[in-house]
Amino acid sequence: MSALFDNFWALLGLKAVVAILVILNVALVIIFAELKISAHMQSRVGPYFAGGRYGWAQPLADGLKFIQKEDLVPRDADRPVFKLAPMVVLAGTVATFVIIPFSPTLVVRDLDLGVFYALAAGSVATIGVLMAGWSSANKYSLMGGLRAAAQLIAYELPLVLAVVGVVIHAGTLSMSGIVEAQAEPFFHLGQTAIHLPYIFQGQIIGFAIFFIAMLAELNRTPFDMPIAESELVMGYLTEYSGIRFTMFFLGEYAGMFAMSAIASSLFLGGYYFPGLDSGTFGPIVLMAKVGLLVFVMIWIRWTFPRLREDQLQSFAWRWLVPLSLVNLAVTATFKVVF
């Protein structure tokens, strides 16, 4: 057994398989949570029959249904690009999980580039979306793909600049390093050390900007113009059916998991919670924080109406970019002066 763990390739393969299984399971749980919470917010019951109590097997049943559906590729479509698009989306999303620390030791690989890599890998999925929109040879898909690209252009900057505030505090890009820096006592009250995550160390504006930009990056309501069903049918997904559609769907929810985990690690203390041993309870603490953020995302979906495309652009450029630059300057000033 130890020989297996010593071999780099064997261990890497094992890590990748485990990571994929975890991603799939968490994505199914998030899909179920979305179905159920959405239903209750609209005074419905939601899935009820599949799997006995509470309809817990609904996402599984959906998956089984999708896998048996005919795989249609439109005649005019650019076939290689059409088939490659879901792969690009999933490759980008799965690659993001490399740096997410679940406990001090439970991390696939703690890259030096850390957050910077996470943001880069996270935006690869948009290339897949643009490919899907272009290759479908469908007017709705093309509009959807272009809108997704527009959203990336507008919201990548606030996302990156909001992270810089945290990097200034922590002095490192490594995700584990950032979480460890939040585990340090912020100040001492008599004998008691007070631990605060970065959101309470003055990065609350940074967190708000990051969260808004994250919603836009994930194409979640109120920023779901790329798949706005009232005007674009299903946007870039219009021509996808069966298993390929499922893969996009899965990628979307895996992306929610990844971005929530990154946001938790950066702003909410990640796997660390005062009084709990990070080694034992780390994964549970992180998943609780991820669950909280996912709940807020679902809540926002049923609270805010969809924006218009130009409103989205001007909101990003007029408000979020200047605000995040000011946040950055203030954080840096505090760091240097005090």
Binding site: L12, G13, K15, A16, A19, I67, Q68, E70, D71, L72, V73, P74, R75, D76, A77, P86, M87, L90, A91, G92, V94, V98, V108, R109, L111, D112, A121, A137, N138, K139, Y140, L142, L146, A150, I153, A154, E156, L157, V160, V164, V167, I168, G171, L173, T238, E239, G242, I243, T246, M247, Q313, W317, R318, P322, L325, A329, A332, T333, K335, V336
Partner: protein, 122 residues
């Protein structure tokens, strides 16, 4: 093998597994799904009527100037990250330098807004 290469290999393997997941799922689905192609089915979807014109219609990409702005600010973000890590060591000098840099960029953004770059009606 050094840790430097192991970093890159890990990332590459994870990305490959993401793509592999799609390939395996599509392969598994091929064993289960029916295949009855027809000319009507493989038509492009346009709300049920026959598609009008080609799929790749000319589209006005309204945000190409945003894309140029984005490029400028994205390069700035690349500059900011190394600065942010070393800020504590570099101290006041680096802070003033970066604030001057940010103010110049913000002035550029204000100029772009005043020029009406962010207006969609034209």
């Amino acid at each position: 093998m050094t840790g430097y290469f192991e970093d890159y290999i890990t990332v590459a393997v994870f990305a490959a597994f993401g793509a592999l997941l799609v390939a395996v799922s599509v392969g598994a689905s091929a064993l289960l799904r029916p295949k009855n192609p027809s000319a009507t089915k493989s038509q492009t979807y346009e709300c049920g009527i026959d598609p009008v014109g080609g799929g790749w219609s000319q589209t006005h990409v309204r945000y190409y100037i945003f894309a140029l702005l984005f490029l400028i600010f994205d390069v700035e973000a690349v500059f900011i990250f190394p600065w942010a890590i070393q800020l504590e060591a570099l101290g006041m000098f680096a802070l003033v330098e970066m604030i001057v840099f940010i103010v110049i960029l913000l002035a550029g953004l204000v100029y772009a807004v005043r020029k009406g770059v962010l207006e969609w009606e034209s």
